[in-house]
Symmetry: C2
């Protein structure tokens, strides 16, 4: 059977789904609904709570209101702080059949799946599909590697630290807690988790080079987080610490054709990925670690078992369906080459083409706006050769990393506040150094309504 092609037994489902659009989160009462249900600015989900009149009403996007979400709220701030990958929603609207799943109540009720002889909690089908997607995209070497899934890569960040720390310590008996480090600017969760979970086995160490000097003769070991492409600035970071007794965790969440050229299949010891940034299903809580060392694999598995007892089987089934749809989209009209205008891909089955073209068109808009400004600058991202598209690809980063160039602007304040005063809520601080004040992160992978609102505010602010 071709990879990702629908199974025979699913064909009735596909027909069914197309005939039940009324319950798929669009209108439930088509005769009452407008031509565009919820005016295109909201949704009715299957578990949307019923209003007082016993009918479900639209859940409106931010800055929209009314029973059908048709009223635009005036003076509504642009919120671009969260990396919520809603730009992929239109793709799944266009591929509603390919990505739908029916879950009968007897579906995998047990704690165990068929693959759990050794205490694993991943279905063979999901593992097969994760491997196949990486092989198809060419972004990670997965041969002879282990896969551990978690409830989002969020769970796996601390899992990786907790798994590496005792292994690190074992190399030097009675060593002090391992130091968790990352070069600024870094994704805040590394520090937040490490500090919040307050372990005896590891502590937050901040900037790798500084921590390495400070703790040079203490017997400390180091766990360095390297997000590449980096969150927030999209740079292809490299680890700073490479000596004996240092471990690197590579966060590869954004290493998909959506956000970055694919340079090569990465072959690192520990790599983290997440469904959220691949298919856009942030609410489905699925991440995976690809690891080389069987000891690290065993510890990671144990951590997940003790922390959450594995990933929901509902999510594993849905993720399998979505990954099959991703592969299926390319199985018939397989061309991987080139990307063009996002409109071309609006109804396409090619998720990578769709995603890259949307993100690139957004980036072009930003570059154009910031080109006018002397006070604010956007990070530089280069057009580069992508092995997946087999072409030079113009930039499509997940975030804008904006600098307030004028020190007068941020005196006694911050770049975040400068934009906040203009009604643009980016993400502030916590990136590890002075950039906390002079930089602000804007998420670009958000939904269309949020992005449009952002553009409106930004245009107005930078023109004034």
């Amino acid at each position: 059977m071709a990879a990702g092609s629908p199974r025979d037994e699913e064909k009735p489902l596909l027909h069914y789904v197309s005939s039940i659009k009324i319950i798929t989160g669009r209108a439930r009462h088509p005769q009452k609904a407008a031509a565009i249900p919820c005016s295109g600015h909201g949704r009715v989900f299957l578990d949307t709570i019923l209003a007082a009149n016993g009918e479900p009403s639209c859940e409106c996007n931010r800055c929209f209101a009314g029973t059908d979400c048709s009223s635009k709220i005036k003076n509504c701030n642009a919120k671009v702080d969260s990396g919520d990958p809603m730009f992929l929603e239109p793709f799944w609207d266009a591929n509603a059949e390919a990505g739908a799943v029916v879950i009968p109540p007897v579906h995998r009720m047990s704690y165990l799946t068929e693959a759990t002889a050794e205490g694993r909690r991943i279905t063979l089908e999901l593992e097969r599909l994760i491997r196949q997607v990486h092989e198809f995209v060419g972004n990670a070497v997965i041969k002879d590697k282990f896969i551990v899934i978690g409830t989002g890569s969020m769970e796996l960040i601390n899992a990786a630290v907790a798994s590496l720390a005792p292994i690190a310590s074992n190399t030097l008996p009675k060593s002090p807690p391992a130091l968790v480090v990352s070069r600024a600017p870094y994704y805040q969760a590394y520090q937040m988790q490490t500090e919040f979970f307050a372990s005896t086995q590891y502590i937050w160490g901040g900037e790798p080079s500084i921590a390495a000097k400070k703790f040079a003769n203490t017997g400390s070991t180091f766990i360095e987080f390297v997000a590449a492409p980096n969150n927030p600035d999209a740079s292809m970071k490299e680890p700073e610490l490479k000596f004996n007794g240092s471990f690197t965790v590579f966060d590869r969440a954004y290493y998909w054709p959506h956000y970055s050229p694919i340079f090569k299949a990465m072959d690192d010891d520990v790599m983290l990925f997440t469904l959220s940034k691949l298919t856009g299903h942030a609410g489905s809580r699925l991440g995976w670690a690809i690891v080389k060392d069987p000891k690290v694999y065993a510890r990671l598995s144990q951590y997940v078992l003790l922390n959450t007892n594995g990933v929901s089987h509902d999510t594993q089934l849905r993720a399998s369906r979505l990954l099959r749809a991703v592969l299926e989209g390319y199985s018939t009209t397989g061309a991987k080459t080139g990307v063009r205008d996002p409109q071309v891909y609006a109804k396409s089955q090619h998720i990578f083409h769709f995603a890259q073209s949307v993100m690139n068109s957004r980036w072009q808009k930003l570059e154009k706006i910031f080109a006018r400004s002397m006070q604010f600058s956007l990070q530089y991202v280069e057009a580069q050769q992508c092995n997946f598209f087999k072409a030079i690809i113009s930039p499509s980063p997940a975030y804008a990393w904006v600098k307030c160039e004028d020190p007068g602007l941020i005196m006694n304040s911050s770049c975040f506040n400068v934009f906040k005063n203009a009604g643009i809520i980016g993400r502030a601080g916590g990136y590890g150094d002075e950039r906390d004040n002079s930089y602000v992160r804007f998420a670009l992978l958000i939904g269309n309504d949020d992005f449009d609102n952002f553009m409106e505010h930004l245009n107005k602010f930078l023109t004034e």
Copy 2:
């Protein structure tokens, strides 16, 4: 609209599900399948991996093999170690339509739900249904309480400790780590998690009364776990520590009519529940904490956000559907009174009646077998008045807690090993004291095949 009744827009789904039994985890090729697909000893799930011939094959229950699971494996050990609540599977087979859900690919892709203004991650619909089920059963006071969901109650055990520990410490500045305690025999996860996560803020303290004496003058605070009904012995435990500076976490996983008479609506400060032991969906990873104190609620929510960023929306949708089916089962033929033979409820829509009658009939079998034995004894469980069934209910505990009475039997060994040698794998040790050697836990809430195998082995062993 009546609580739990199917929504109009779901009716096409219900018809659909009944017409697609071929994909609901029974046979996919009815023309090839036997009268009972997978011979009643296995299943084909939607994500069952395809065999080399491109067709899915049955996933057989333990001790069964063959393409259709019709061969019983000889000399196959009885495994009764895990609390895998598969005894509820037949109920959902009989209620396949009521519990099925279609998930379109655009379903709640975002990190956020409509209720997440304050960083919450629970849908309003799921929260409404959790509250309604507790009100219907009468096992917990939920009015004016907060609900925090987690990826299984597993996540919430350590979340509760991590949330209470700093609050406990704040009452006495610079106090030593909080002591996590539980009276033996206790559920092993309390100790395993506390030790594994190796926090600076709390440590494992063992037996409450001993720890309280030992650390009397240290300024230590205490977090006591009280499972009631208790895992493993079904007793209605009460907290041992009730002084200022001690906190109690009540694990109410088994406080459902399935396993215990409902004495009253419990009104404790912190209570843990899990979908696993209510509907049997252990693989769906959903637990909830019911808490009184807004400070504890805020910490718990923060913990879940940082640990896993909330519970999968797929699972929240499915759980909502299942809880509605539970309520719907009673909405038309509402009688809560009395329970009788399990056969009566085999095809019923009354989950509590079905569950209690199955567990009770299993307990009666065990009592009969152990009555013959002088060497082994079963814990005593009393028939008591149940407010839910409005009747005196004979016992239906989730676990058997068996004592090896003869010290000679366990000399240099353990009660676990005595049964293991007879091919019965219970759960050994880790309960906190000498009971580790002279007791063994057998799970009774397992699937029918596993229970039958257990009975065979037990009958043979105790007759010999």
